[in-house]
């Protein structure tokens, strides 16, 4: 079986995010970009499933401008077999992303589509669920453990009340949570090998997908700076202070 993994290029989690002076978005010029950490976990899990003998091929896919190749190469260096790059310079919102992944799934016919539970740039947490609805495949989101048994996946999910274990028929969609695994370090020879692994570029226009942004970003602002706190001596003082601020 094949596993298709979606990966996204995002501002590296170590970088302090800065809003562009005109409020039109987040500054990305000269900023370190990396693979979304949850997607890295998804790639790792797909590789582990393959290494356990439960899959034959791991395909990674991304949607975005030319520079996203870097993240595909990283995934190939981790061990993925081949990569698909859907080229576009436009901003891709979750619904469009899900439609594109659906088109790729139709083409590749994987048994599992693995995604990160969310991307750390917009924290939408929507793509996996939308892809589930579009493809009519079962979905298991926030996975913290995945076991493959024949044609089913046993997935443990992290939910508010604790852990929930699902058994879903394949083909299915699984989204990875933080505790699913710890991604491997890439090895130098594998970085060199990754350069020679197949990477197919497809223009977004060639996929016949409806690209319709459904959400418009009006303004981006940095969070308000935290003001210095004050110390209060008693509960009465606290209540007065809160009242003065109009908070109670």
């Amino acid at each position: 079986m094949k596993i298709l993994v979606g990966v996204k290029r995002v501002v590296d989690f170590n970088v302090r995010i800065q809003v562009k002076p005109d409020g039109s978005g987040v500054a990305t010029d000269g900023v370190k970009m990396s693979m979304n950490p949850f997607d890295e976990i998804a790639v790792e899990e797909a590789l582990r499933i393959k290494e356990a003998g439960n899959a034959e091929e791991v395909i990674v896919a991304t949607i975005g401008p030319k520079a996203c190749q870097e993240q595909l190469r990283t995934a190939l260096a981790m061990g993925a077999d081949r990569a698909i790059h859907v080229l576009t310079d436009d901003e891709i919102q979750p619904l469009t992303g899900a439609r594109i992944l659906k088109a790729l799934a139709d083409k590749e016919e994987p048994q599992i589509v693995m995604l990160g539970k969310q991307a750390i740039d917009d924290d939408n947490n929507q793509t996996a669920q939308m892809l589930g609805a579009l493809s009519h495949w079962p979905q298991a989101t926030f996975a913290s453990e995945v076991k493959i048994e024949g044609n089913t996946a046993i997935v443990t999910r992290e939910v508010d009340a604790g852990l929930e274990t699902l058994s879903i028929d394949l083909p299915a969609i699984i989204s990875a949570d933080l505790r699913l695994n710890e991604p491997r370090y890439v090895k130098l020879p594998d970085i060199m090998k990754a350069k020679r692994k197949p990477l197919e570029a497809i223009a977004l226009a060639d996929l016949n997908v409806e690209v319709a942004p459904t959400v418009k970003v009006i303004k981006t602002t940095a969070p308000a700076k935290r003001e210095a706190g004050i110390k209060v001596g008693s509960v009465a003082e606290l209540v007065t202070a809160l009242k003065e601020k109009g908070l109670i």
């Binding site: 590296d12 170590n14 970088v15 302090r16 800065q18 002076p21 010029d29 000269g30 900023v31 370190k32 710890e182 991604p183 491997r184 370090y185 090895k187 130098l188 020879p189 970085i191 060199m192």
Partner: protein
């Protein structure tokens, strides 16, 4: 332990201007000779440019030689220097503009470019990769590998996934041997392997000790009304006294940004001096703050520079390898410029390797052709002309020394028939704390001046938490038994990232604490510790600052 290995013709340590120029030149020459050449560059930063911090006013000499068509190729040299102001700051709120005529010639900047050297390196890395160089960011060269005959055979990359207590984590990945006929060391100022090479091959035999400065830099986005793209501002004088060398710079880059910084020479004598706080209060002088008011600080970082000049340049060749760029110490102290000399010496190393390959086997050989090439290059001429600049400042203080330099450079063009030397290493200059005045630094105002922690935050520094500390104490007792009573443990002040602290433990006793995860890899502690007790070693690859356009 059996380790995996890979073989190359040339391994280059460090993807800075020196290492990348060497890589590009190697491939250009190999192509010209229709020669197959396997070259790799290994870089400890998480990506190329992540650990690059420079001013930077770039003198395009070496770039013109390496890529005569750099403009068409899209090199990010976008802002030509349009104005060149030098101020002598006389106090907190005063400064006088030095007439152009009085400025020593090497400090003029006509024809130079204001750049982000990090972005220039990213661009050079693309060129190198395009020519077939393998670049491995996120990997450190942690050890030198030697052949049985003592010659260098390559480097070992750092192990990944080692826990703080030294045990192997689940993610453990042992380092690999990268073997080469010649290894080019381009680690920049105070290279951790370069330092070992100088010792094992006694490369400093005929050189004076190296001298250093610590440069602390910020990038600001400023009010477009106040921005004058292409303007270069330098300052001397306040807040340093006449016995402490150093000075400030402020460059108006593209996109309404300014790059500004302050360099303090590490031969300062008062252990109460804090380079970080000098830099912060320097910004409050109106000559600087006029540009910053209403702006926002976007980035912070620090890096040592070597400023020993010609007298401190070591031997560059040794069996199996070469030293280039600031790993050897080619910064021109009069200009505070080292990028063009780093690039040029990288290129000379490439020529040396290719020409020697023509003559036969180079594996493990000592290519003294490199030293000859350096001595007949413009890098040597340049350093020779300005050789008395640093020592003059040291001998006469910054004011008279500056006057000497004006005569030396503008009237005698650097040809005075003598060479001054400065043979006291920087770690040996501190006077006892009790004999020095305490310096009262003003509190940060949160607008122009800031505290250390909020500053380090802007360097986007990160190290995997669970790993052995990469700042090694030879004798763990020295900080508290010697440095504290004698010098008030100066690491607390000279480290620009707040890594070293003397705190109280539960019983109220002093404890020396090392917050290694904050380290911005400036190398100052390795240089300035009076007992030479701190050794900076490579942490897990990818750790350290994540500089954007520094």
């Amino acid at each position: 332990m059996e380790r995996e290995s890979m073989e190359f013709d040339v391994v280059i340590v460090g993807a800075g201007p020196a290492g990348l120029s060497a890589a590009c030149k190697l491939m250009q020459l190999a192509e010209k000779n229709e020669q197959e050449l396997m070259v790799c560059v290994i870089e400890k930063g998480s990506e190329v440019g992540a650990h690059i911090l420079s001013g930077a006013v770039l003198e395009p000499t070496a770039m013109n030689e390496l890529f005569p068509n750099w403009k068409e190729l899209g090199a990010p040299l976008n802002t030509e220097v349009k104005g060149d102001d030098v101020y002598y700051l006389t106090g907190e709120d005063k400064g006088i503009r030095t007439p152009n005529f009085f400025i020593p010639k090497p400090m003029h900047n006509d024809g130079n470019y204001i750049v982000s050297m990090g972005n220039v390196c990213r661009w050079m890395a693309e060129q190198a990769e395009g020519m077939g160089v393998e670049i491995f960011p996120g990997f450190t060269a942690s050890e030198i590998l030697y052949n049985d005959d003592g010659s260098v055979k390559g480097i070992l990359t750092g192990d990944m996934g080692i826990a703080e207590d030294g045990s192997e984590k689940d993610s453990y990945m042992p380092g690999m041997e990268l073997l080469a006929k010649q290894t080019i060391f381009a680690e920049g100022c105070r290279g951790h392997l370069g330092k070992q090479l100088m010792e094992s091959f006694d490369l400093n035999k005929d050189a004076d000790p190296q001298h250093y400065g610590l440069g602390i830099k910020e990038v600001w986005t400023i009010d477009p009304e106040k921005h004058q793209e292409g303007l270069v501002v330098h300052t001397a004088g306040w807040p340093l006294d006449n016995h402490t060398e150093g000075g400030g710079f402020l460059y108006h880059m593209e996109n309404n940004q300014v790059s500004l910084g302050f360099i303090v020479a590490l031969n300062y004598t008062n252990p109460h001096l804090s380079p970080f706080d000098e830099m912060q209060r320097w910004k409050s002088n109106p000559k600087i703050s006029q540009f910053l008011e209403g702006g926002e600080r976007v980035s912070y970082g620090a890096r040592a520079v070597n400023k020993g000049g010609m007298q401190s340049v070591p031997k560059l060749s040794f069996p199996g390898g070469l030293l280039v760029g600031c790993d050897a110490g080619f910064l021109n102290g009069a200009k505070i410029k080292g990028n063009h000399t780093a690039m040029k010496t990288g290129m000379l190393a490439a020529e040396t390797v290719i020409e020697s390959l023509k003559a036969g086997d180079v594996a493990g050989k000592e290519l003294s052709l490199m030293d000859e090439k350096y001595k007949s290059s413009w890098v040597f001429d340049e350093l020779h002309k300005t050789r008395n600049f640093g020592p003059a400042l040291h001998k006469f203080g910054t004011f008279l020394g500056g006057t000497f330099s004006w005569f030396d450079q503008n009237i005698f063009a650097g040809k005075l028939p003598f060479t001054w030397r400065n043979t006291t290493p920087d770690h040996a200059t501190l006077k006892p704390a009790a004999k020095c005045p305490v310096i009262n630094y003003p509190k940060p105002d949160g607008k122009i001046t800031f505290d250390k922690l909020s500053s380090v935050f802007l360097s986007s520094t990160n190290h995997e938490e669970d790993q052995p500390c990469h700042l090694k104490l030879t004798d763990p007792s020295i900080p508290l038994s010697q440095n504290l009573p004698l010098y008030n443990e100066p690491a607390q002040l000279y480290c620009p990232a707040g890594v070293y602290e003397v705190v109280k433990d539960e019983e109220g006793n002093d404890k020396f604490q090392i917050n290694g995860q904050n380290c911005v890899h400036c190398k100052t502690c390795d240089i300035k510790d009076p007992a030479q007790n701190i050794t900076w070693v490579t942490p897990e690859g990818g750790g350290g600052p994540n500089y954007g356009n520094m």
